[in-house]
Every structure is written in structure tokens, then in C-alpha cells.
Amino acid sequence: MAARKTTKKPNVSAEELTSHYREMLLIRRFEEKAGQLYGMGLIGGFCHLYIGQEAVVVGLEAAAEEGDKRITSYRDHGHMLACGMDPDGVMAELTGREGGYSKGKGGSMHMFSKEKHFYGGHGIVGAQVPLGAGLAFADKYKGNGRVTFAYFGDGAANQGQIYETFNMAALWQLPVIFVIENNQYAMGTAQARSTSTPELFTRGEAFGIPGEAVDGMNVLTVKDAGERAVAHCRAGKGPYILEVKTYRYRGHSMSDPAKYRTREEVQKMRSERDPIEQVREMLLTGKHASEDDLKAIDKEIKDIVNKSADFSKESPEPHLDELWTDIYAETIPQHSA
């Protein structure tokens, strides 16, 4: 139940490393573009970027299987891209257009994809955690062997409903992985200022839920931990906690003056721990890829992101009739799939 240090270098193929690189880069470039579109007034409201945290979702998605579920907070763009949702549809939702995943009605914080088993996109801090356990409840009920990744932040980790959920998830042995994305800040509050015990991975101890702390800037250690957690859940042993130590480079949302930390702190993280740079290094030093290969990937990603931006601008605004649709259902949408 104690923190497990993963010192061994996992064996990893060139192919796998390249794909991690590509996926993390896609998130990074996509988020940079979103920031740019926000600045141009094309995206409105709250927009929380994932830059710096890419290794968390990419590592964990590498441990997931088809049919596994994921649910997260409002800082959700990375999760959507990592689980294979279409960048066009995500970007068009950010601009509030018809071609967005929620037809423009959800926005940055509220997106869903039944096809990719992505259950949102939730704006209320902590609320997605019991929902994630509920998804796992349904899977256990159906006996389909699926697991759910329920992501939440270090700030969210203080919400009461999370502990109610821990108790029931353990009591009922639900196949849910609680992923605490500890990026050290909840808006302007450094973690130490809001938590009486900083070791979040031990928060399940009272309920008998095993937990471990993970270096979230390293995609391979994240994947490794993810595999342990998934194996635990799939073996029917109940929930598992991963406290993934990560860092967000940008402000909490687009309107954050960021006076609560120094520029040096951010810079140090970027230059010493950047998850994409780390993989880039591994690819080059291990001679898995050449500079040219990586350039080609960069170009490929840039094209995907530019295309999504174009799509998000060209897709029309939703028809005014959409105001009045989707308030009540005629049939249960989850059943019609």
C-alpha cells in the first residue's frame, strides 16, 4: 500500500516511444492553438489548458484497452485527444460550432464521446469522481471486465464526495482507477496550503484502497503504473489510486494572473522535466529516430492541428432550433448504441 518506486527502466520499443511522442505532441500543439484561438475571441468562457500534463493521459491510455472508460474534469482536452477523439470535433466544440462534439452546446468543459467511452468533461470540482465509480459499477454489474479511469485534481481531492466514493468503491470492489493529477496547484492555491496531509496516494488507506505515487512527467513510468492499476482492477480486486505528480505550465484558465508561483519555478520544470523533451531525448539517444524523422512528425502534427483550427472556424454556428433540443430524451441514448 506504500508508494512504489519504479526504478527499473521498462523495455520499450521504438514504435511505442514514437507513438507516445506523437500523441503528446498533438496535445501540446492543439492546446497552444486553442490558446491562440481564445486570444482571438473565437473561444469563450473558461478554457483550461493541459500543457505540461501530457504524459499523464498518454501513459494511462497506453495501459487501457478498447472499451475501458474515462471521465475527468473541465481540464479535458488532453484526455479527449489521447483516447482518440477527433481533433476537429474537439476544436469545433471549443469555438461553439455545429461540428463540435456537443453541437456547440457544451464548450471546453463539457464534451462527451460515447463512441470513445469518454464520459466528460465536468465543470463541478469533484463531481466526476462518483460518476466514474458509477460507470465502474455498471461494468461490474454487467460483468464485462472493463475498467474506468476517473481523473481529478489535487484541489478536487479535498471534496467530501470523493471519500464517500472511496468507501463504496472499496466496499463493492468496483473496477475504477482514481487518477489524481497532482499538478501542485488548485487555481492559485499551492497544494500545501489546502491539504493537511500532502501524500494524496495514501488517501485510500482508511478504506483499504492501494495507492502509489507516480512521476507524471515521464510517460513510461505513468504507463507502467497504469498497467499495475489496470491489472489490479481487472483481477476483480477493487479500486486503485494513482497520484500522478505533474505540472501545468499555463495559468489555471485563460484569465489567471499567475502571481502565486514564480516564473523560475515554471521555467525549471519546463527545461528539466518536460515530458515531450524526455521522450525526444530517448528517441534520439537510443537512435530510434533521427532529427529528420522527428521533424516529419512535428509537421504531421502541425497539419492536423491547423486543419482542426480551420474546421472549427468554418463549421457554422448551431442552428437556433438547437436551443430547444436535447433537453429530454425519447429513448435512453446509452441503450441505442
Partner: protein, 458 residues
């Protein structure tokens, strides 16, 4: 003296039951705790124990009897030295608790046949003529109100997410940490239900907390403590324990923040006896009402609006400016129609009145300022003059503030209405994110103008 053993009520809803079985017989000596009988209700069979000691003198209801009403005598218990023969003489009728005369509920002011006297309203101006005024934003006014009250007494403190070091998510508490220190300006974790409960407890303990919710959307996490603990305790304690607390923060739609972050809670909280509800529009009202709210011995829901925070208004330059609860403000006098609103709804009401004036329609615009208590007399007095009423709010139509006003005006001033009241509200949909849809989801000035034209038959 012989005592009667009465048919017990074994659940809060039981009115009668079956005396299934006697476990004692006449002449048996019993002491407290002995099981006397089994009683069946529609839900269960329960054992019935003796409370007093003595001898069973007479069994009045034989076992197997159904439909025995609660409180009927089922047996007689004799004290030492008494005989069963004394029983008939004893057995006084079961005493009933004296019933209090039911007080009449405040009689609904049923519309008397017109002509009816105009209700009395307090028309004193908010500040004396000649008072110096300064321009202030709503944001500054709110901060000043808190700072002044915190200077007045150190029982007042502020608690919430990001209120201290970050200076407030919307910068309402700017500078307060510096002036009052971390004992009185307290950053909480993101745990609304918990800290709302702690604040309510501290009010029971003699403090006067101001709780800032980053937005009222997140107060839904805490709504049980607000309603079940803060609003009801005075009543439940028979007046012993009050809860002087202010729950404040931005309410309603901001801009493009979607369905979970765009709700107007005015009508929700307005329903709760025990709460007071303020929803200011201008900076002077924000200041004067917040100061009154902090001093109020009751829990106050103080609904602000993010879009209004940056707007400037005249604020009287007085040492201690307060605005009483339950006193509406007439922003514009008029004779053709009454427009009633509050909070950000006033923006549409005033804009509409301005445009209507160009068409020769004279609108009287009333800002309710507080929703509970609500200054209905001012509304009714105005309707008696204009005979037409339109209400404006951003909240949803079903169970809206406007529908309450409409029903009261109908009951109290029916004969004065020349047209049905029209309530302008937000659309009956969750708030969409897309810019074009959001615009349509909110109430608009054009809709207010159309409503006025409808009630004035133009």
C-alpha cells in the same frame, strides 16, 4: 391509585392496531420492563412493555381485538392494597393536553372590491439630499462593505476559496487579507459542503461569518447546510439559536461558461422561510445591502453578478451607508406600465424603458433589491397607477420570481389590472455554450419591449 394502561402508538403514523395477544392475566404482578402484550400494526408485530409496577387488575380489551385506537384503555393496573372493585370508580378519563388556540395564519390580502386603498410604502430616499456622491464599481462597493463591517466588529470574518492570497477569484476581497490578516480572511480547500457547515457552526458559536462561494453554482454542494442548518435552526430551537451569516458570490450567467456555471438561484432561495435574499443591481445597493446583510441576525443569501462587478454607479460618500431589506427602489417613474426587476435584470428593464420612452410609452421601473422580504406594496401601488405589469429576470420561467409576483398582484390588485401580467424570463433550457445560442437563451431588452407593447396593447 389504579392507573389505566393505554393502547400505545408504536410508530409516528400509527392510529390503531390489533391487540394480538396478552402475555399477562388478571392478578399477575408486573414490574417495569415486563412484556404485557403483543400488538400488531400494519407494519409489524411489536411487544408492549410495562412502565409501572403493580398488579393487573382488569383486562379491558380481550386479545384478538382489531382496530383498537391509540390511547384507549386496554387494562387497569392496581397499586398495592387496591382491589379490582375500585377500578370502576377510578379510571378517570384520559386527560388531553390543552390545545392552543390555533392562530390565524396571516390572512391573505384578498382583493377587496375596488376602489382599494393604495398600500403604505416607505418612500424615504436612500440618502439625504445634498449627500456627496462618488463613482464606484460594484466590486469596490462590495469590498468596502465587507471592510467597514470587519472594522466595526471582529466577530465578522470572511471565508471561501481563493479569498485571501489570491485576493478573490473575482477580486472582490482585494486588500482584505492585508488589512485583517489570515485569522479573519481565510482560504479554504475546495470543500463547499464542509466549509459552509463550519461557517454555520461558527455562527451558532457566536461569530458572524461571510462565506464567499466562488460562484453560486458551487453552493449547490453546500445547499443542505444552507437550508437545513442555517435557515431552520432558529425555528427548531424555539428562537434560542440564530444564524447570523452571509452567503455571497456571483450568481447567474456570466459569459459563455456553459450549463453548469450559468444559473440564477434567485427563485430557489426566495422560497425558503428562514433565509433572507438580496440581489442588488447598483453599487450603492451592493454596498448598503451587504452591510445590512452582515449585521442581520439571520442567514442572508446575497446574489451578485459577475457582469455587474465592473459597472460604476453613484455611491453616497457616507461613513455608514446601509440599505434596509424589503424596500424596493423606483428607478424611473412612469404612468403606462410597471416593469419590475432585480439584479442584472435591471439592465434590460432600464434599457427597455429608455427605448419605450422614445415611442411615447412611459414605464415605471422598480428594482426589488431584496426578494425575501419582498416589497410587494411598492409594486402594487405602482400597478394601481399604471394598471399593467411586466417582470424581468434571467432565471427560468417555471416557478420564477415573476410568476410569484404575478400571482400576488392578481390576488391583491386584480381589479387594477388592465392586461394579464407578462413575465420575461430566461428560456426554459440549460445554458448553451455557443455564442449565438447563449444570446437567445437569456432574456433580452427586445423581449421586454415586446412584453410592454403586449400589455399596453400597442
Amino acid at each position: 391509585m389504579a392507573t389505566e394502561i393505554l393502547m400505545p402508538a408504536l410508530s409516528p403514523t400509527m392510529e390503531e392496531g390489533t391487540l394480538a395477544k396478552w402475555l399477562v392475566k388478571e392478578g399477575d404482578t408486573v414490574s417495569s420492563g415486563d412484556i404485557l402484550a403483543e400488538i400488531e400494526t400494519d407494519k409489524a408485530t411489536m411487544e408492549f412493555e410495562a412502565v409501572d409496577e403493580g398488579v393487573i387488575g382488569k383486562i379491558l380489551i380481550p386479545e384478538g381485538t382489531e382496530g383498537v385506537k391509540v390511547n384507549t384503555a386496554i387494562a387497569v393496573l392496581l397499586a398495592e392494597g387496591e382491589s379490582a372493585d375500585d377500578v370502576a370508580a377510578a379510571a378517570p378519563a384520559a386527560k388531553e393536553a390543552p390545545t392552543a388556540e390555533a392562530p390565524a395564519a396571516p390572512a391573505p390580502a384578498v382583493a377587496a372590491a375596488a376602489p382599494q386603498e393604495a398600500p403604505k410604502v416607505d418612500e424615504t430616499p436612500d440618502w439625504p439630499e445634498g449627500t456627496a456622491l462618488k463613482q464606484q464599481t460594484v466590486r469596490e462597493a462590495l469590498r468596502d462593505a465587507m471592510a467597514e463591517e470587519m472594522r466595526r466588529t471582529d466577530e465578522v470574518y470572511l471565508m471561501g476559496e481563493e479569498v485571501a492570497e489570491y485576493q478573490g477569484a473575482y477580486k472582490i476581497s482585494q486588500g482584505l487579507l492585508d488589512e485583517f490578516g489570515s485569522k479573519r480572511v481565510i482560504d479554504t480547500p475546495i470543500t463547499e459542503h464542509g466549509f459552509a457547515g463550519i461557517a454555520v457552526g461558527s455562527a451558532f458559536g457566536g461569530l458572524m461569518p461571510i462565506v464567499e462561494f466562488m460562484t453560486f453554482n458551487f453552493a449547490m454542494q453546500a445547499i443542505d447546510q444552507i437550508i437545513n442548518s442555517a435557515a431552520k435552526t432558529l425555528y427548531m430551537s424555539g428562537g434560542q439559536m440564530g444564524c447570523p451569516i452571509v452567503f455571497r458570490g456571483p450568481n447567474g450567467a456570466a459569459a459563455r461558461v456553459g450549463a453548469q456555471h450559468s444559473q440564477d438561484y434567485a427563485a430557489w432561495y426566495m422560497q425558503i422561510p428562514g433565509l433572507k435574499v438580496a440581489m442588488p443591481y447598483s453599487a450603492s445597493d451592493a454596498k448598503g445591502l451587504l452591510k445590512s446583510a452582515i449585521r442581520d441576525p439571520n442567514p442572508v443569501i446575497f446574489l451578485e453578478n459577475e457582469i455587474l462587478y465592473g459597472r460604476s454607479f453613484d455611491v453616497p460618500d457616507l461613513d455608514d451607508y446601509t440599505v434596509p431589506f424589503g424596500k424596493a427602489r423606483i428607478w424611473r417613474e412612469g404612468s403606462d406600465v410597471t416593469i419590475v426587476s432585480f439584479g442584472i435584470g435591471m439592465t434590460y428593464a432600464l434599457e427597455a424603458a429608455e427605448k419605450l420612452a422614445e415611442d411615447g410609452i412611459s414605464a415605471e421601473v422598480i428594482d426589488l433589491r431584496t426578494l425575501r422580504p419582498m416589497d410587494l406594496p411598492t409594486v402594487i401601488k405602482s400597478v394601481m397607477k399604471t394598471n399593467r405589469l411586466v417582470t424581468v429576470e434571467e432565471g427560468w420561467p417555471q416557478g420564477s420570481v415573476g410568476s410569484y409576483i404575478a400571482s400576488e398582484v392578481m390576488q391583491q390588485a386584480f381589479d387594477y389590472l388592465d392586461a394579464p401580467v407578462v413575465t420575461c424570463t430566461g428560456k426554459d433550457v440549460p445554458m448553451p455554450y455557443a455564442a449565438n445560442l447563449e444570446k437567445h437563451a437569456l432574456v433580452t431588452t427586445d423581449e421586454v419591449i415586446a412584453a410592454v407593447k403586449q400589455v399596453t396593447y400597442r
